[in-house]
Symmetry: C2
């Protein structure tokens, strides 16, 4: 529930297989490991490991039901990423404003 560092998020999403799994969960909703393995081009243990990392990064939740595990995307998880990009853009705009101010002053 508590926010995860951007570092974990970036690392988790840097791998294409992992990002693809997360995208599928976002698009199609909760799915079992078996369903996710079908369609991912990698073995079931590889999928499980990736899901483990995604879970550790707070990007997915797991739910055990009988002998299968259902994974789902955790919506709020991307918030730190949005915050980070927003912050970077804001820095940029701040410097841009400074430049504008400078130009205005030079104009007078």
């Amino acid at each position: 529930m508590t926010d995860v560092s951007p570092d974990l998020l970036f690392k988790a999403l840097a791998d294409p297989s992992r990002r693809a799994l997360f995208e599928r969960l976002c698009m199609d909703g909760e799915q079992t490991v078996g369903a996710l393995t079908a369609g991912a081009g990698i073995s079931q243990p590889a999928v499980s490991k990736h899901l483990g990392l995604l879970k550790q990064a707070g990007l997915v939740l797991d739910r055990h039901e009988g002998r299968q595990t259902h994974y789902s995307a955790q919506q709020r998880a991307l918030a730190p990423l949005v915050d980070w990009t927003g912050r970077m853009n804001r820095f940029w705009e701040a410097r841009f404003d400074d430049l504008e101010d400078l130009l205005k002053r030079m104009d007078q």
Copy 2:
């Protein structure tokens, strides 16, 4: 100028040293390799390599002036990231709306 794949962006930003360099460029504006090396806890060649990757990912620009190279953050570079996170959230919300619809129908 043309948009870069989210893959390159995520990979470039997944490394802490690289992300720190980019953040400094966003916060403080254009800087030389020397200035960036001071403060990064790593050697100058390491910094140069990271800057090379950031440039390849479209995150920074370089400008040669005499014997020094000035790097700056490229503002629009984060756009694909913003798009991607937005898309993921939109998927999520769409499924949420479906659920709402379902609940509404069940309610009738």
